[in-house]
Every structure is written in structure tokens, then in C-alpha cells.
């Protein structure tokens, strides 16, 4: 699809997004064509499996190998998945769409054409709300979403003069999600693709698995002087990770700026991103300008469905990340950023809700985001494989809220539960980790510290921030079990500050 129609350029220029060249500032204009593999058991037009990692040409039917006389029959689940995704993108669902043939020769394209939707896609315009940072939210408009077949795979490193063709992926359903050129930086592009991935994972329409190629993007990049008309774009094909999408945009923008600042002009061309060398290069197989000779596939009829079909799918949709985030902010009083972090994966949002159930939500959010996510990240684990289950963390949060344990004890307790498992309440009871709230015991410790440090007392009276030192000493003396608030209050009273 062609992007970068000037009339589509609705975003106001943002000076913070500009990048500096040798002769002044430049604005990046970027649109993405994301190819997302549809989650389905069988292929778009055949009954062969879509499972990853099979023996060469084993997940291939006669249809996928384009044997003479073979015909496509569409998989209804792929249609439903495309509609669900369209609903998740707040997009227009087209009740009539058509399949076209895109004709070109390539060894991993067995039919000599790709069945795609050129003229009438199944999903029309929509939009995605993207949190770029804790402070910045943008809207990326969706041009369209269409269904199409994936191609096979050619391996080029098996022999010096031959390529090896495996058609296992041939015919797997893809959703091509085309954005309008609303993206202005690599960071925005990463955040946009991350958000798309989140939405599709919530919907269960694409697993978003980058390693298995479930999500790839063609990146359209151009640069211009602020306020000037759009520049010539280049399309960087098939970038296969969110990180690389960001890198590709950065290096391609730099390349274009250098050329323009040297007085050159940009050739509209298709390029490849080489992550090893951190650069883009023109595809070697440039050949003639593409002429895909699109026409409606005469082996298929127009795809038509009614409102009831769409409404049935809508009714079955889960709560989507934007709705969930709003609810977390409203019902749990969470900050936008924290809510956003929690809803990024459905599993973490569910985990959080289980932890927060009946307990203090903000403490729960803190513990999930800081302690749990931090630890999971460090150890390469996920929510699903977390040694600390939601009920366990919930118990810890409850004991914190009810002042049974202090924050410091809670961290020790979390460590114990992480490594040894067990019921946190039982552990606290067995190991005497209960917070000391008995004011007599705290008072004794406070008195002892004050008596032993008259010089510090004088300093604290002059400079109340010294209070922290006294708190620390009391906590040390009580083995961390004293209630910090009680210590604080008592010290203030005794020292008269």
C-alpha cells in the first residue's frame, strides 16, 4: 500500500521530535505495514497446520504447493480473527470484501501470486491510542487491515549456488495492518507496534511471537524540513523485531538526511535492514518496477457477512487494554503510567487484580510493578512461571497494609516466598517476623537511642532532617520489626520537633 499522502498529515509538528542534521532540524515521517500472523490451527485457504518448526514441506497441502488444479477454500476462523482485530482497533468492519491476486514470481510463492485483499479490505479505517512515555499519548490512525497469504521460506546458506525452498509457511493467514503516516520517531514506532501487539494478544488473534516471525513490519520512512511537504519515502521490508523497527527508522532517517544535506535526492526504493551492520541497504534484486497485476481471484467469491456475525464477535471480545487501563485508574486509583504497565499483558493485569482483590490497590500495584516485575525480568521468568503466586503476594500486601509487617520485612518475606515458597502468614508467624506495634517496646528502644546519643539529639533539634538517622537506629535495634510510623511519631514527640 502507498502511504504518505500529504493530505493525511494531520499531526502538528512537535519540536521535541525533531532530529538535528548538520544544517538544521529534520522531521521523520513514518508509516508502518505490520504483518501479523493470524492465530488459527489451519491455513487461510487450506487444511494444513500452521504450527511452527516442522520438518521441511510437511505442513504443506497440495493447495499450498500450488499443484495443478488446486483451489482455495477460506478458513472462517481467520475471517473472525480479522474482524475481532478490526473491532480492537476501533475500525470500520466491511461487510463485503474481496480477494485479489497479487502476481509476481518468486520461488517461495508457489502459485505465482499471493491471494490478498487489494481493492476491498475486510477492515477499514480505525485508530490506536499509544502511550509513548509516561507523559505522552498519541493517536496512530489505521488505514486498513486486510487478510492475505504468507509466502514460504527460502534458505540461502545451505549451498553456494542453490536456495532451499520450504513451503511450511506458504498460505498461513496474515493480517496486514496499514497505519497512516502518523509516526514521528523511532520511539513512537516501537510504542505503536508494542500497543498493536498488546491488543492482538488480548484478543487472541495474533500471538505476537517475534522469534517465530508472527509479527513483522514494512517500515516507510521519509524526512522533511519542519513545515515542508513530504519527502520521498523508502520502504524497509520485513523488519522482524520491535527493537529493529526502531533502529531501522533511526538509521534510515540519518541516511536520508545525510543525502539531502549533501544536496542529493532520495530514490524511492525498497531497502533491507541489516541489524548486524546497523544499516539499511537497497535490495539487490531490484528488477523492474513492480507491476503486480492485481485482479479479483476468480477461484473465490466476495466475502460477505451480516451485522449479526460482527455483533456476535463483538459480544465475545474480552476487556481490551484501553478499557482495562481506564478501569484501573478509576477503580483502583492508579496513575496512568502504572495502569498502562499493568495492562500491557493480559496475564499481568489479571495477576494484579488478584493481588489487589480485597487489599490496598496502590500497594498491590507497587509490589507487582517494582518487586515482582523487577525480579521476573532479572530471572527471565514470566507471570505464568512466577514462583510467587498472586494469592501469596496478596497476603504479603495485606500484612503490609494492616501494619503486621514493615516494608523491610515484607521484602525479606517476598524473598523467602520466592525461593522457598509457602504461606506468607505461616512464615511470618513461624519466624517471628511480626511488626512490633507495642508502643512500650518501641518507646524503650527510642529512649535508649536518645540517651546514648546526646550530641545527635542536639543536631536533630537544629536540623529536623536528622530524624531519619534516629528512625534507622530504632529499626536496627528492633530487628526491623518496629512500625516505622509509630517510631517516627514517638521520636518527634520526644525530641520536640
Amino acid at each position: 500500500m502507498t502511504l504518505h499522502d500529504t493530505s493525511l498529515d494531520i499531526r502538528a509538528m512537535d519540536p521535541k521530535k525533531l532530529i538535528a542534521g548538520a544544517t538544521g532540524n529534520w522531521e521523520i515521517i513514518c508509516g508502518l505495514e505490520v504483518h501479523a500472523q493470524v492465530t488459527s490451527k489451519s491455513k487461510l485457504f487450506s487444511g494444513a497446520s500452521t504450527a511452527f518448526g516442522a520438518e521441511p514441506n510437511s505442513h504443506v497441502s497440495l493447495v499450498d504447493a500450488a499443484m495443478p488444479g488446486m483451489l482455495p477454500v477460506i478458513n472462517g476462523e481467520c475471517v473472525a480473527q480479522a474482524v475481532r482485530t478490526g473491532l480492537g482497533l476501533n475500525a470500520q468492519i466491511n461487510h463485503r470484501s474481496t480477494f485479489d491476486r497479487k502476481n509476481y514470481f518468486y520461488p517461495d510463492l508457489p502459485q505465482g501470486y499471493q491471494i490478498s485483499q487489494f481493492k476491498s479490505p475486510i477492515v477499514g479505517e480505525g485508530e490506536v491510542i499509544v502511550d509513548v512515555t509516561a507523559a505522552e499519548q498519541i493517536i496512530v490512525r489505521i488505514e486498513r487491515l486486510h487478510l492475505e497469504q504468507d509466502a514460504g521460506k527460502s534458505l540461502h546458506d545451505q549451498s553456494p549456488n542453490l536456495s532451499f525452498v520450504d513451503l511450511n509457511r506458504s498460505g498461513v493467514a496474515l493480517m496486514e495492518i496499514v497505519s497512516k503516516p502518523d509516526i514521528r520517531s523511532a520511539e513512537e514506532a516501537r510504542a505503536y507496534v508494542t500497543k498493536l501487539r498488546t491488543i492482538m494478544r488480548y484478543l487472541g488473534t495474533c500471538d505476537g511471537n517475534m522469534e517465530e516471525g508472527s509479527l513483522r513490519a514494512d517500515v516507510n520512512v521519509s524526512v522533511r524540513r519542519p513545515g515542508e511537504p513530504l519527502g520521498t519515502r523508502c520502504e524497509i521490508k520485513n523488519v522482524n523485531s520491535i527493537r529493529f523497527i526502531g533502529q531501522a527508522i533511526e538509521v534510515e532517517a540519518r541516511r536520508q538526511i545525510e543525502i539531502l544535506e549533501d544536496g542529493g535526492k532520495i530514490d524511492q526504493e525498497t531497502r533491507l535492514f541489516d541489524p548486524g551492520r546497523g544499516e539499511t541497504r537497497a535490495m539487490r534484486s531490484k528488477e523492474e518496477a513492480h507491476d503486480y497485476r492485481y485482479f479479483p481471484d476468480p477461484d473465490l467469491l466476495p466475502l460477505e457477512f451480516d451485522d449479526a456475525f460482527v455483533e456476535g464477535l463483538r459480544a465475545g471480545l474480552p476487556e481490551l487494554p484501553d478499557m482495562k487501563k481506564a478501569r484501573f485508574m478509576r477503580d483502583y486509583g492508579l496513575a496512568s503510567y502504572d495502569a498502562g504497565v499493568l495492562v500491557a499483558e493480559r496475564e499481568s493485569a489479571d495477576y494484579f487484580e488478584a493481588v489487589a482483590d480485597g487489599h490496598d490497590a496502590k500497594t498491590a500495584a507497587n509490589w507487582v510493578i517494582n518487586e515482582l516485575f523487577g525480579r521476573l525480568n532479572k530471572e527471565g521468568k514470566t507471570i505464568a512461571t512466577s514462583p510467587v503466586k498472586a494469592e501469596q503476594l496478596g497476603a504479603i500486601v495485606e500484612m503490609i497494609s494492616s501494619s503486621e509487617i514493615s516494608g523491610k520485612i515484607a521484602k525479606d518475606l517476598f524473598e523467602i516466598v520466592w525461593t522457598e515458597g509457602g504461606d506468607p502468614r505461616q512464615i511470618v508467624a513461624d519466624r517471628g517476623m511480626t511488626q512490633v506495634t507495642d508502643s512500650g517496646a518501641i518507646e524503650a528502644a527510642v529512649n535508649a537511642i536518645i540517651e546514648a546519643n546526646p550530641d545527635k539529639v542536639a543536631q536533630a533539634i537544629a536540623k529536623p532532617t536528622m530524624l531519619g538517622w534516629f528512625v534507622g537506629q530504632v529499626m536496627k535495634q528492633t530487628g526491623g520489626k518496629a512500625n516505622p510510623q509509630a517510631v517516627n511519631d514517638l521520636l518527634k514527640a520526644k525530641l520536640g520537633i
Binding site: 487444511g47 497446520s49 497440495l62 477454500v73 527460502s154 540461502h156 536456495s163 532451499f164 525452498v165
Partner: protein, 95 residues
């Protein structure tokens, strides 16, 4: 409308059919005579006429999402001019 020799070469390449220089004038004549033959269609009034998309009026049937095909790499590659370990082999492709 008529085609020139450059167009003949371009079309042959798009269709991936090798043509020798000697064949080009002849192909050009044939193409032009075909285009001449269909020329009259240009004057047919097709204003507001829908193009035919399905010969018989019917809805596209959809199949259930079940795996019931494939798992026959040996059969799929049986007629291959060149294959190895159930891969199809082709002259090296550069990207």
C-alpha cells in the same frame, strides 16, 4: 491502443517468458492484432454497470478451522525437478 517493441519485452519479462530479438516484431504484430480485435469494447457504454465477480450468485462458503491436510512432504516434492531432504532446490536467489 498499440504496443511498441519495448512494451513487448517488458510484458515478456513480467510473464517470465524468454523471447529472442528475432521474435519481437512478430509478437508485436500479434499483440497489436489482438488489441485491435478488442478495440470495439472501448465504445460500449458500461456506465454504472457492476463488473462480474461471481458467475453464479452465491455466498462464499467458509470452512472450519481444522487441520486435515498436509503431512505429505514426500508426495509434495515427488515431481520436483530438483529436491533434497524434502526441500525444493532452485538456483540461488539474491535478495
Amino acid at each position: 491502443m498499440s504496443v511498441d517493441q519495448a512494451t513487448v519485452r517488458k510484458i515478456a519479462h513480467l510473464a517470465r517468458i524468454a523471447v529472442s530479438e528475432a521474435e519481437i516484431p512478430h509478437l508485436q504484430n500479434e499483440l497489436n492484432s489482438m488489441l485491435h480485435f478488442v478495440e470495439a469494447l472501448a465504445s460500449v457504454d458500461v456506465e454504472g454497470v457492476e463488473p462480474m465477480t461471481s458467475v453464479m450468485p452465491m455466498a462464499l462458503r467458509i470452512r472450519a478451522d481444522v487441520v486435515n491436510d498436509g503431512e505429505m512432504a514426500a508426495l509434495v516434492t515427488r515431481n520436483a525437478p530438483q529436491s533434497e531432504d524434502h526441500f525444493f532446490l532452485v538456483p540461488k536467489v539474491v535478495e
